[in-house]
Symmetry: C2
Subunit: 345 residues, 2 copies
């Protein structure tokens, strides 16, 4: 059995038209903003169904105009309370299918569970792609060592910058001329990359297998930079993190943390593990499928600190841990040292 | 949010009529033999659809006779290559539905994907229950500490006696007059217990939540004895094991191992961890949701050794580890010491 079967991952037709619905608050359009910022070359324009909706500053296009400019799918880049598909969106969604665009959604309500969309997609020979739905045919993990290099972003908790860190490292490697792919494991990441694996939606028995499929055999000097999920210390989501760690077989981990966060998000009774404990546990468990795993450094989210506070904290932590500590958003020499250590050990 | 919602687990109508199909080899009827041995009071009889089929030595009953004797479901207690439902079985399966019995299956081919069975079940108002299909509405784990005591069987590998160990401990606790429930996490265990959670079929994000639902709040002196799954060191299935460990919040683990097994079943490149390593890793990770977790001892499957070899090995291992080491199948003083330590620390 080979795990090098990329067709087992989700694949999205690119480039995109970004749909904003009637959203007036930027906070509900995080996915659209993330796509604009991280995959600008894949975003040909934006479409709203209300004149009051927010704008991304991209060209405002009808689905037909977007198709003519090369777009091949329309991404629902907004969320709302409850994750529903609103009736007011339907004319725009159906117009997109008519114009030849596939529809891509990441909401709790699946596109394929909306009969009017299913009918329109069938009529026009288009696909409805729910990025929360894993592809079929994921195998159980084989444990077979794969060729190529892998870096996995891990963390002390959820929602503190693992996706951002992986994207920043991937872009920086490309700038340095290193062959690299970003491997997405969550819905926004999948839309940015145009493919990936929604790890939290995979059945547990196949979790490590899904991670194997996500980063197949590659050239010896090629790096897969893999978006992390959850934390080995998270009382709800550690299963996702361990399956991803075992199946990814990372050569290098980068440990992500947010300065000042001291308990699990939304769980005040659960203190966060220390950075040392997080590094040690990830290395101990990761060694099972890759005995040469090592820690490349720490990615510290310092967005709540001033520039001088952040630089001082990173320097102190770096000295304490004996590892590069950097905030990819601030960049600078610290981040370059982190990259050096990831690449060269 | 409360996790003490037993209706979120699978529940099977008991007692059972056991269906043997046309199976002539006992190896294909493991489930039926397991039910006869572990839940004899729930097995009113057996039904085959061929005179050449094997027998469990139970009364041979028609579905109508079984219903009259109290049976409320018929369990498909046989498997075949490919896990299919054979055409030759259909008259018996439909007769069971007609007689008022629900149908319970654990094969890869789900009962609900067989149109003739769906039609017959609807016609007679009966249920088709696939024990590989998790119940709906499993929440994500809350991490909230629950009342009552919990024991979890963990292991160095798959398929070396975790279910057997949990069942043996549960029966022994009942014999001692301790309030206890067996909590099943795999298909055969679920059929034996009449309820449970197919942990390996749960979506990863809900894995720990499923374990929380499985062993709800209980009286302070009540023990849930929880069937383990996989191993934290298994390259394919560790995600299942970690979600189960976190959500179960065990007070006590019993580590299961098979004497002489030195690599992961089917994976010769993966040596098994030592017992010390297995104990240490389970305690370290389990401490996250239950800081007072401890190891009650080792359950050693010595089925390939002679009685004298087995007793000598258990004594040596017990001395080396400073823990009770017992083979539940052999029983004896070692097993009583293991139980003492599980209950009393």
């Amino acid at each position: 059995m080979t795990t090098a079967n990329l067709s087992t991952t989700l694949d999205l037709p690119q480039p995109y038209l970004l749909f904003l619905g009637d959203t007036t608050e930027a906070g509900f359009a995080k996915t659209a903003f993330g796509l604009r910022d991280w995959a600008p070359e894949q975003c040909v324009g934006e479409l709203a169904c209300s004149p009051d909706a927010i704008s991304l500053g991209l060209p405002k296009l009808t689905p037909a105009q977007a198709y003519a400019k090369g777009a091949r799918s329309m991404i629902i880049g907004v969320a709302n309370m409850g994750g529903r598909i609103l009736d007011s969106w339907m004319p725009s969604l159906i117009a997109a299918l008519e114009a030849g665009l596939d529809l891509v959604g990441g909401m709790h309500t699946r596109l394929v569970d909306t009969p009017a969309l299913v009918a329109a997609a069938e009529r026009h020979g288009r696909r409805l792609i729910d990025v929360r739905t894993p592809p079929r045919g994921i195998p159980t993990a084989s444990g077979r060592k794969r060729s190529g290099k892998r870096l996995l972003a891990v963390g002390t908790d959820c929602a503190l910058g693992k996706k951002y860190t992986a994207l920043a490292i991937w872009k920086a490697l490309k700038r340095r001329g290193v062959k690299a792919d970003f491997r997405a494991t969550g819905q926004t990441g999948i839309m940015i990359a145009g493919s990936g694996m929604p790890m939290d939606a995979v059945v547990s028995d196949f979790e490590a297998g899904a991670a194997e499929v996500l980063s197949p055999d590659a050239a010896p000097d090629h790096w897969d930079v893999i978006e992390g999920q959850g934390s080995l210390f998270h009382p709800s989501y550690a299963a996702v993190s361990l399956g991803l760690l075992h199946g990814s077989q990372p050569d290098v981990i980068v440990v992500c943390h947010e300065a000042g966060r001291n308990h699990v998000l939304g769980m005040p009774d659960y203190p966060l593990p220390s950075l040392e404990e997080t590094i040690d546990m990830n290395l101990r468990l990761g060694r099972r499928t890759n005995p040469s795993i090592r820690c490349g450094g720490v990615s510290l989210n310092t967005s709540k600190l001033s520039e001088s506070e952040a630089r001082a904290l990173m320097a102190a932590e770096s000295k304490r841990l004996g590892l590069p500590v950097a905030d990819p958003i601030r960049g600078g020499d610290e981040f370059e040292r982190l990259l050096d250590r990831c690449l060269n050990g």
